[in-house]
Symmetry: C2
Subunit: 348 residues, 2 copies
DNA sequence: CCTTAGCACTCTCGCGCTGAGAGTGCTAAG
DNA sequence: CTTAGCACTCTCAGCGCGAGAGTGCTAAGG
């Protein structure tokens, strides 16, 4: 248990440093944060905090700056308060995004833009993984000889198109019948369920190799494997305005992060199960490329089921409070949209 | 008519500067480019070139660097040679892109990546504008009450999905009939043609306001207006490695260019009609944001009809020769793919 | 025993200076 | 017209210096 006074000093240092990227000195703390203590006392406390690993000095005789552990303390103490949603922001979001409620991709793309504009960090979003989405409708269209386009529409509003090659030339009529069968059989289930069902049927129906069903299954078998959802990232120019990214090295770091979407997907995916807002600070990131970056993420849900992830990525010296509010609000907003979408439907 | 000798000096300066971003001096020119002239003579020539506006000095008594006009001369003299396609590169491209011939978006996304990897500049691509594409198939799917998904497939392999709201609730059966009608009427025409046809029919058929056709047309009217094709841009981290982008200001410039996709679309679009490789140098760009960037672009065609644009964007100090080769080769490659795609089809 | 004042110490940062190096323009001779 | 020579200009890296900020330590005070 750390003494209350010590916590307050730590909090002050982190808070001040986030506001303004100068190492913060003992004198400044006493003045700005109104402790009834002299700078000397604060110095002692800060030395203790440094020993404990919460603060460090960029060089001897500069002020202190927080370590990742220091930020962690700050963020955890923030989490206590639990008043992160901002109604005004919520309203703002609704206005910005009202026009594009239609398809998931534009919605998320616009959400990341809004996130980055509001937070001045990178806005990211991961669209729902098709695997866990509920199939609304499958449609098959003959494109060319031996080539078919599969169109998959989920209840969440995701559309996936896939060109698939088949070993025999089917007429559009055949395809219609196959699609009809598939819809009858599978609509309302998740892609994951469908896949395992297909595998089972494959095994059972090995005999009737040429039936319509066999064909249908062969078509789907290839088509229903999706890699992942889309990632949306935006706000590079926002980030470049920050003092934290004034040197080339760090800019390269973050631009690498942007280009390596797989990394982002992986990171977001591992956080996708947790509820509420989650903060990952600097070295807490599993990927070394993100060692000096922090993420604030949350999941959006359809009803109670988390279906996707959004968040912001910025320097470890991040306005966590603001970021948390923004991400939390945006996630709740998306959840409402997704839940509404699902609601008044079901009558196809 | 400029004297031959002068041209050679200009060429040498540009060539050397492109290779290595140091202002080039008279002594260096005589040594490296084996003129039978003394540095003093070269100095005179260079002074002339500066007067003519082809060269400039970053500061008194540094070497010369090319102006945009100087680069223009260099590029034009390059254009004479006309051996820009590179068979090895062509082969390389085929291998990289073989796996993803299927849908246009992935193909172009991958193309930009390849362009940027090979050139070390930004790779950009503009997908075919739906307006000029040939409709292969329209499909309508009921999504929710009063909401329909329109799926549009063109012969070029572009798929467009659009959620549309309609004022009355149509059954899937209605939609099928509408789609059938639309396909019968419109398949094989370009979207542009279809649109003007629709407008005409609207006028004529004002009377039969409730017929199937009227409904179909009402659906399409809204749905067939596309803003533009997609832009694909990649290679920021490539570009950041260049010495030209070692200061923050320029990085911001280029990242703004990346984020402002509309600008890129506009620029590429205005160049989309010209045949062959086109080079736009620095201030030749209509947009002031691009004043210090150059673009090398070309169009890819389906048969003889240009349908889209690809290119690279980099600093004015660009390896134009290499960039031209790469872009030209890639454009030809895409043209082959698109033309093949269209070829063995037509039998739906 | 904790707090505080005082003080010497350390480190960064900005400034101006300097000398080396590179390249020029000009002039006068070939 | 070309070239050698030379004075001149400008950048750049390195250095020293002083100001400023902040620390750690010690010794005195509550």
């Amino acid at each position: 248990m750390i003494e209350d006074r010590i916590q307050k000093v730590l909090w002050a240092v982190v808070d001040s440093y986030i506001l303004n990227p100068d190492p913060v000195g003992s004198r400044f703390v006493t003045k700005k944060y109104a402790f009834n203590l002299s700078p000397a006392t604060i110095r002692n406390i800060m030395a203790d905090l440094e020993e404990m690993g919460f603060l460090r000095q960029p060089h001897t005789s500069a002020g202190r700056i927080p370590t990742d552990k220091g930020y962690r303390f700050y963020v955890d103490s923030l989490a206590q308060r639990e008043d992160s949603e901002d109604p005004r922001l919520y309203h703002d979001l609704s206005e910005r995004l009202a026009a594009i409620r239609q398809d998931m991709d534009s919605l998320l793309a616009e959400t990341t833009k809004t996130l980055s504009k509001l937070s001045h960090y990178l806005g990211v979003a991961l669209s729902p993984r098709p695997e866990t989405s509920t199939l609304s409708l499958i449609s098959l269209v003959r494109y060319k000889e031996n080539e078919v386009v599969l169109i998959l529409l989920t209840e969440e509003g995701i559309i996936k198109n896939k060109f698939i090659r088949i070993d025999q030339d089917l007429t559009q009529r055949d395809l219609n019948r196959i699609a009809e069968y598939l819809n009858a059989e599978f609509a309302g289930r998740t892609i994951d369920e469908i896949r395992s069902k297909i595998v089972r049927e494959m095994r059972r129906d090995k005999a009737l190799c040429d039936s319509l069903i066999a064909r249908a299954i062969r078509v789907c078998q290839e088509a229903l494997f999706f890699d992942h959802g889309n990632v949306f990232i935006s706000g590079l120019s926002e980030v470049l305005g920050l003092p934290d990214f004034s040197d080339l090295q760090r800019i390269k770091e973050i631009s690498k992060a942007i280009e390596d979407k797989h990394l982002i997907i992986k990171l977001l995916d591992t956080l996708s199960s947790t509820a509420g807002v989650k903060v990952v600070i600097g070295s807490e990131n599993s990927a070394s490329e993100m060692n000096r970056l922090s993420m604030v993420v949350s999941t959006y849900k359809e009803g109670d089921r988390p279906i996707g992830t959004i968040g912001v990525i910025g320097p470890t010296r991040m306005d966590y409070m603001g970021a948390i509010t923004i991400v939390d609000t945006a996630a709740k907003f998306l959840t409402r949209i997704m839940t509404e979408k699902k609601g008044p439907q079901k009558d196809v």
